[in-house]
Structure formats: C-alpha cells, structure tokens
C-alpha cells in the first residue's frame, strides 16, 4: 500500500496517513455504523412507533384517559395504603417494594413492583378505585410486540447483550477516529463548507459526504462520545478495578462511594412498615415534585428505608439536560431524612452530574419534541454520512482500480459493493419490514414479539444473500424497489389490516400514528428518488 510506505517518512505524510486511516477505519465500520445510526435515529421516536404497533391499545388508552378525567380514582394516601396492603399480603418477604401510586396529576394507574424469585423485575396493576388487583389485559386482544423499543435495543447492543454492547462501543470509537481523521484530511473545510456539485459522479458523492458530515459535526462528535461514555465503566473498567478491585463486593463499595447508595443493611429486628402517605407528603415538599414512586427497601425490618421519587414536569424536562428526578430518602423507623436529591442533580459530584447530563444529551430526554426532531434530522444526516462514505469508496474505484489488496482487490471491491447494498438498502427494508410483520403476524401466536424480531433479521439476511447473488446495479435497484414499495404501501397495509388511515388519525389528533405513516411515505419517496438517480446513472 502506497500510503503505508509513505508513512513515517515524508513530512506531508500526516494528512495522507490520516486519509488512509479515514478511508479504512471508516469503510470497515460503515455498515455496522449505518445500522446503529439508522436504528438510533428511529429510536428517537420509539414511543410513537410503539403506539402505531399496538393498535389494540388505542381504544384502551383512550378509555383510560377518559376514565382518568372523569373520576381520578382514590387519593394518593388511599392508593399507597392499598399498594402496601397488596404487597404485605402477596410478597411479604420481598427485599424491595416499589409503589407507583399515580401519574403527575394524582390520577391514572396504580402499579406495584418487586423482584421475584429469579431476581427479575415483576409488576402488578391495581385498580385505582378499589385497590384490587387487575387481571392482566386479555393477552389475545392486544398484540405482543417490542414496538419501537426494538430500535433502541438494536441500536445500543444489537439484541446481543454485553457482546453486542462491546461491538457497538468499538464501532463508536471507530466513528470518533473517522470523524477526527476526516476533519484533518479535509483540507478546504471552510472553503467547501456549502459546496455541493450534483450530477458530477464521484465529486458529487464526496460533496454530499462532506456536507452532511461537516454541517452536523458538533452533533456527530457529541452523539458518538456520549454513547461511549454512557457505558463507559463497561468499556474502561481499569480505574475501578485498580482502585476498588473486582467482584460484587468491590462493585457494591464503588456504587456506595459514588453516592448512589445500595440497599441499607438489615437489622434483623422486625418492624411493620409505617403508613406511607406522610413520607410521600414530606418527600414531595422536599423535592418540589409530584410523587412518582415510593420505594421501601427491606420492608418489615427495622432498618427499612423509604425513598420518594418525583415526576419531572414538562418544563423541567424541557430545560434541563440531566434527566434525574427528585428523590428523598427516609429512615422508616425514625422518619429522619437520610438524603435529598433535587431534580436534575446527580447522586454524586461533578463527574456523576456530567455522566447524567451526557446520558440526557445522548437519549434526548430534554427539550421536548423540537429537540427530538433536531436529533432526527442530524441522525439522518449522520446516517447519510456513513452511507455516502461507503458508496463513495466504490464509486471512486469503479473506473480506477487502486489495487490496495494486490490480486485480491477485485474480490474485495465486490464484497464491499454487496455489503453496501445489504447494509444500506437491505437494513432499511428490514426496518420497514418489521412494521409489516407487526401487522401481518397473527395477533395471538406464541412468542409474537420474538417472531417480529426474527422477521427483521431474516429480511436483513435475505438482503445480504440477494446482494451477493445479483450484480451490484441490479441488487441496488431491486432492493430499493422493495424498500420504496414497503414504505409507500405501509398506510395501505394499515388500512387493510386495522381499518385505520391517515385522515382518521389526524381527525382524532393521533399525531404519533400519523407521524409514523407520513414518515414511512417520506422514506419511500426518498427511496424512489434514489431509484431515479440509479436509472439516470445507468442511462448516462
């Protein structure tokens, strides 16, 4: 490789070395990063997507809303008492009781949580008017689905647990390297700031790649770095290991020194859990927020601790980066205040606050819908940055083999071409196909949520196979046609399977469903535009 020989010798070699680094670090991670970025961009609207994917819930939600407005149910004090009675009767030995008495307005659902025998989070819903346990909604009426949360899970761990998390983390680090090396390589970054010359082949692709990257550069750096730091102690445990050690005891010590505070120690002396309402009221006053949850650690023990957590108001969410809610901890036995955390503060000092703010920055927990749309736009730009980079690599080498791999170069280029189609068009097909699966899979089948996921991965796998079996130009065309069709016909699918359609959604103010369908149509139009571009190119 010419660049490798030049490295370490020529003076102007720095920019060339960085160009080499940018090309190869960028290329090998482009396909994975495209997937992470596209699903991350869709994850901004995971709740609206989940809403669209659970049409049976619409009637339920509407009824619940109407009921909540008509009769707010019992008071908080009563709800807390019912919750406690339920827990005392059904789960007296649990290490933790968690009660969510109401929504921010004092109405809504009454739910309780605990850790079951397998140490998994378990929940039950109680009737806010009577305190009696509500039977689970008829499993056959509502379809089981991961909803939009699939995009979130895939985005940060590829549905593959810790290994997936590491893979995404490595890719994010590669993205940072690509960003910095790209800036260093881009000689005329200011002069070319607005430069976009369409219809000029390779030059156009380079211009497009530069434009979407440079114009959204602050976002790209922020999103990659915050993404890494959120799971930073997993990726960089060295400090913790050297200063605290390994193993659960060290972890517990670490967590408690951070100020997050694990469970308090048991005393072994039995003590009935006191009435919760006074604690809730005091907590509410201390943190200045309506009560969201009351958590009792070691219920039934004299060392029990009662934590009161608040709801972030819309205004607080709008104006604060750190999403932490207010919290007040009390000793159940003495009623003394153990700790107060004001809304937005972190359990700890400056570094923990930065950690919380960076989490908020990455997951756009702040700023309202306007911010979400900005993230969506910049996310699409980032996705385009990766896709255009991968395409640029091939376009540049279509007419001039650069022989980077000696005799194997042609085969490597063929591999890249196929991966480009599968990673870009194929992944998009899988994403919209997931929505199609949601409507087409029978509602009552076993493991329905897992099946929808299988459709997603199956479509992606088929796209990969297809991309290897067909010539690149044909593969692009056929997958883009599939993409355009699936996207543009999504509203038709919805109409045929649920009877719902855009005018009805708009009439009842269902912006979420309307947004999903209009978004799909917009993506379909973009795919159609790409097809037209392909046609013009092959015609030229």
């Amino acid at each position: 490789m010419a660049a490798a020989e030049r490295k370490g010798t020529a003076q102007g070699g720095f920019r060339q070395a960085q160009a080499w680094l940018h090309t190869w670090c960028g290329l090998w991670f482009s396909w994975l990063l495209f997937a992470v970025f596209l699903t991350g961009t869709l994850a901004v609207f995971d709740d609206p997507i989940t809403h669209w994917m659970t049409p049976e819930h619409h009637a339920e939600e509407a009824a619940a809303e109407a009921a909540a407005k008509a009769a707010p149910g019992a008071t908080r004090a009563q709800r807390l008492a019912w919750g406690m009675a339920y827990m005392a009767r059904h789960h007296p030995g649990a290490q933790m009781w968690e009660l969510w008495p109401s929504d921010a307005n004092g109405g809504g659902e009454l739910k309780v949580y605990w850790f079951d025998a397998d140490n998994r989070y378990a929940e039950a819903s109680l009737d806010p008017a009577t305190g009696r346990p509500l039977s689970k909604p008829d499993g056959h009426a509502a379809r089981a689905t991961l909803g939009g949360h699939h995009f979130v899970d895939f985005h940060y761990e590829l549905h593959a647990g810790t290994i997936g998390l590491w893979i995404v983390g490595i890719a994010a680090m590669a993205m940072l390297v690509a960003l910095v090396s790209g800036v260093i390589t881009h000689k005329r970054i200011f002069k070319d700031f607005f430069t976009f010359r369409p219809k000029k082949g390779q030059r156009s692709w380079l211009d497009a790649h530069n434009a979407v990257a440079v114009l959204t550069l602050p976002f790209q750096f922020m999103i990659a770095y915050t993404g890494i730091v959120i799971s930073g102690t997993t990726f960089m445990p060295a400090g913790k290991i050297l200063h605290f050690g390994t193993g659960p005891a060290a972890q517990a010590q670490f967590v408690s020194e951070l100020g997050e505070g694990g469970q308090p120690p048991r005393t072994g002396r039995p003590m009935e859990v006191p009435a919760l309402e006074p604690f809730a009221a005091r907590g509410e006053a201390l943190i200045g927020q309506a009560v969201r949850a009351v958590v009792i650690d070691h219920p039934g023990d004299a060392g029990a601790r009662i934590g009161v957590y608040g709801w972030n108001s819309g205004d607080e969410s709008m104006r604060r980066l750190s999403p932490t809610t207010g919290m007040a901890m009390f000793s159940a036995a003495t009623g003394k205040v153990q700790r107060v955390r004001l809304p937005g503060e972190a359990d700890g000092g400056a570094a923990m606050l930065a950690q919380s703010a960076m989490g908020g920055l990455h997951m756009v927990t702040y700023g309202g819908w306007g911010m979400k749309w900005l993230y969506f736009l910049c996310g699409l730009a980032g996705t385009a940055m990766m896709g255009s980079g991968a395409v640029l690599f091939i376009v540049k080498r279509r007419h001039r083999h650069l022989g980077e791999f000696g005799g194997a170069t042609a085969r490597v280029y063929r591999l890249v071409e196929a991966l480009n189609v599968a990673a870009i068009a194929g992944l998009a097909v899988a994403c919209v196909g997931y929505l199609w699966a949601n409507r087409l899979l029978p509602v009552g089948i076993e493991q329905r949520a897992a099946r929808e996921l299988q459709v997603f991965f199956a479509l992606w796998g088929m796209a990969l196979l297809h991309a290897f079996l067909r010539q690149p130009a044909r593969a692009w065309r056929e997958q883009l046609v599939a993409l355009a069709a699936l996207c543009l016909l999504l509203p038709v699918l919805n109409l045929l399977t649920t009877g719902d359609h855009l005018p009805a959604q708009l009439l009842r103010g269902d912006w979420e469903s309307a947004g999903v369908e209009l978004g799909a149509v917009a993506f379909g139009l973009a795919a159609t535009g790409a097809l037209r571009h392909l046609q013009r190119r092959t015609a030229r």
């Binding site: 002069k191 700031f193 434009a211």
Partner: protein
C-alpha cells in the same frame, strides 16, 4: 415564547445567516450573480450580517429552552439551517437568496414582536 415558535425563529435566523455567509464566498456568489469575485465591501457586510444572524438565533433558543438546553438547541438549529443552503444552492441560488431575505426580515419582525410582548 413556546419552543415551537423559538424553533421556527431560530431556524429562520440560522438559515438566513448561513445563506449570507455562503454568498460571501466567491464560489457561491458566482452561482448567484455570475460574477467571479465578491466585491470587498459586500463580502464584509455579508460576513458581518451573517454572523449577526447566526448569533441572533441563540436568542429565541435561550429564551424558550433556558441557557444550557438553549445552547444545544442553537447548535442544532445552525446545522438545520446550513443543510438546506448547501443542498439548494446548486439548483436554485436565487431561490436560496430570496428565501434568506424573507427569513431574515420575518424573523427580525418575530423577534421584535416577542420582545415587545415580553416588555409589556
């Protein structure tokens, strides 16, 4: 000011500012006027005006979202304003210019109204 209004105002100011900065460059000035070079006085005024517009975009942002989040929103809106300039310049340079002029005027009026409202 609601965040929706702030976003629109901020976007208009960011777009107008970015457009102004683009026309201060020879390459894009030529796209608009067919003249090779930007006259020095025009370049300076476009650069200054563009910078002022970009800075002004921070005002509705901080007003609606507070200082921290407002700064983040401002950066995002700068990007959102720059992207259409780059995308549309090669196709409709005059359209970009007219839209920028309109956006600048409309957002200045909007800002003035918002201030007058808050003073009252």
């Amino acid at each position: 000011m609601t965040t929706g209004q702030a976003a629109m105002l901020g976007l208009a100011l960011a777009y107008a500012g970015m457009a102004a900065l683009s026309f201060a460059m020879d390459r894009h000035h030529e796209q608009l006027t067919r003249r090779r070079e930007v006259p020095v006085r025009l370049r300076v005024s476009l650069r200054m005006g563009g910078t002022v517009l970009l800075a002004a975009a921070a005002v509705p942002c901080v007003s609606a979202w507070g200082a921290t989040v407002g700064t983040v929103a401002w950066l995002g809106l700068l990007s959102a304003g720059a992207l259409p300039v780059a995308l549309l310049l090669p196709y409709r340079p005059r359209g970009v210019a007219w839209l920028a002029a309109f956006a600048a005027v409309a957002s200045c009026i909007g800002l003035a109204l918002a201030f007058a409202g808050s003073l009252r």
